[in-house]
Amino acid sequence: MTADTLPTTAPFTGLLPAQLRQVLSDRPAPGSTISLGRLPDGEELLRLYRMMVVGRAVEDAATAMAKQGLMAVYPAARGQEACQIGAAAALRRSDWLFPTYRDSIAVISRGADPADVLGGPLGRRHLGYDPYEQRTAPLCTPLATHAPHAVGFAHAARHHGDGTIALVLLGEGATSEGDFHAACTFAAAHQAPVVFLVQNNGYAISTPAHLQSAAPSFAHKGIGYGIPAERVDGNDVLAVLMTTRAAVERARAGAGPALVEAVTYRIGPHTNSDDSTRYRTAAEADPWKQKDPLDRYAAYLHDHGLLTPATTQDAACTAEAEVRKLRLHAQETFVPDPAEITAHVYTQPPGHLLAQTARLALEEDSDG
């Protein structure tokens, strides 16, 4: 696609998606921000950069830690940093994010501690952060099931009239699940202020996107619900941010839900226990590596005179510090407390569970 074929219409004005939206160059000539609205200011641009550098570092560290056995498993988002950081940045602090297992760094970019966000993979608890504190729902594993939650949450927000928006992240594979369908149907029928961001990273484990759907694009799924949709270059953090922000703000203005397909690529395997050489060639990733979201964004900042040695240094240091903290946390001895297994099932546990908990405590006593 060349610059002159870029969409010239404002986003979400029709039911069919426009062509792929880009801001950053993936070619020598710079891209175009046509009709996506005002660019973020310099400070926000640099904050995004720092978040992406931190995100990349956390991704790589977590993958290494999973290989070392310090984590149960890690589903890395290497190559998807622009989707994750760009999408989360489109939210106000008061808005809510509904992420999947792959969206750790989106959550981290909202301010949560990496050690908390990786609580699940670290194996000590199901979820490490407080959803209300982070205004972020639990990282969700059963595919697409968090999408109706976001719709209900947004519906309630509209009920309260508090202007909160819910942003759902999900993979292109998850769009095939019934709950994606339910979520879109309800969102549109009740005009809930919710935005669905589909990260099309090319694969659902080993299954390529073209086996997932025969639609012209994942954005084309919007029209069947009456939800306006856009496609965006998912390795272009500014396009993701600006398109998602357009969606978020139109929802806030009462215009209802929107769908964004961010086209990207999962550079690594599905998780550290997946062997992607079984189903794709290494060469397939090459063009995507050329479009590395971090490199492209750095080039953009550089072209605009924003990337000074100081900012680069600052980002690298923050990243290093976060990774160090994370590693230290993972290496701390963990003293498991079996009572945690039954402690949170009910507010008031039923008798049979209390009896079981008591037996468990006895067991611990006799062991200890």
């Binding site: 109706p148 939650h149 949450f153 947004a154 149907t185 008798g351």
Partner: protein, 323 residues
């Protein structure tokens, strides 16, 4: 004279009047007032923000309720018929039941899923399932089922007040059942079974639609000189073991009566648990009178499937052959 459906309606109405956070939605619950009329008039009284129809997806209904409960509302959703809760099964097992636990108690889900259940109304297939065992086996769920008009009101109010999610099973063949209980009235908290009829010969344990069957059996049993105790569980989770073991200590014999298929049914848990708790007191194994281990039959065969007075009396008779 209120009907059981009327009592449920009044419970919803009172809860909605008392607390602006209570909302109710589902299929045809708005203008139409629900296919069993349990939400009759609520949309008119409280407006479409508090009582409304949804698109036709049970998973969407339950999934949205989860999000709403996370965001300050107290949703009470209606599933139209028992078997139509199955499309929402993943939401129920993986989220409704687990949310509190997986967030270490940080996110609680104060929501109620109302499900008309059971048979006896001559309905066509998929409209008469007794699916309680799926829910009672799922940790994190609280399961209540009324058998009287007073309990219909009271248990639903308790369910709405409850901090955790409640599966509220409404015995559909009792919807039109009336009595002259004055409402509103609270009949007791979750986890408290009711001894509907005291007796010394044996204990009949029932809930929801089979409580009346047990009571009728007890009445007929007097002819044989039997004095049968009838216990109505009211909530299946939490289970009131105290009342049950107390009763068995007195009677030494017990029969569980439920409509669901027996194999792996809730009665199995009762039998296993109470046998363990009352081993020395039991004169006979705990009997089970249940629906057959078959899909619910067509209308003209349902009477052969459902527990009835004869089968209950036969079970009591069998137990009396022991010792």
């Amino acid at each position: 004279m209120a009907s059981l459906a009327g009592a449920l309606n009044q419970a919803l109405r009172d809860a909605m009047a008392d607390d602006g956070r209570v909302i109710t939605f589902g299929l045809d619950v708005g203008t139409n007032g629900g296919v069993f009329r349990v939400t009759d008039g609520l949309a008119a009284t409280f407006g479409p923000k508090r009582c409304f129809d949804t698109p036709l997806s049970e998973s969407g209904i339950v999934g949205c309720a989860v999000g709403m409960a996370m965001n300050g509302l107290l949703p009470v959703v209606e599933i139209q018929f028992d078997a139509f809760a199955y499309p929402a099964f993943e939401q129920i097992t993986s989220h409704v039941a687990k949310m509190r636990n997986r967030t270490s108690g940080r996110v609680t889900l104060p929501l109620v899923i109302r499900i008309p259940y059971g048979g006896g109304i001559g309905a066509v297939e998929h409209h008469s399932d007794s699916s309680e065992a799926y829910y009672t086996h799922t940790p994190g769920l609280t399961v209540a089922t009324p058998s009287t008009v007073a309990d219909a009101y009271s248990l639903l109010r308790e369910a709405i007040d409850h901090p955790d999610p409640v599966i509220f099973l409404e015995p559909k063949r009792l919807y039109w059942h009336k009595d002259d209980t004055p409402l509103p009235r609270r009949t007791g908290p979750f986890g408290q079974a009711a001894i509907r009829r005291p007796g010394r010969t044996a204990t009949l344990i029932a809930y929801g639609p089979t409580v009346n069957v047990a009571l009728q059996a007890a009445a007929q049993g007097t002819a044989a000189g039997w004095d049968l105790e009838v216990i109505d569980l009211r909530t299946l989770v939490p289970l009131d073991e105290h009342t049950l073991t107390g009763s068995i200590h007195r009677t030494g014999r017990a029969v569980v009566v439920h409509e669901a298929p027996g194999f792996g049914g809730y009665g199995a848990e009762l039998a296993a648990r109470l046998t363990e708790a009352c081993f020395y007191h039991l004169q006979a194994p705990i009997g089970r009178v249940t629906g057959l281990d078959a899909p619910y039959p067509p209308p003209l065969l349902e009477e052969y499937h459902l527990p009835n007075v004869n089968r209950v009396l036969h079970a009591v008779h069998s137990l009396l052959q022991y010792a």
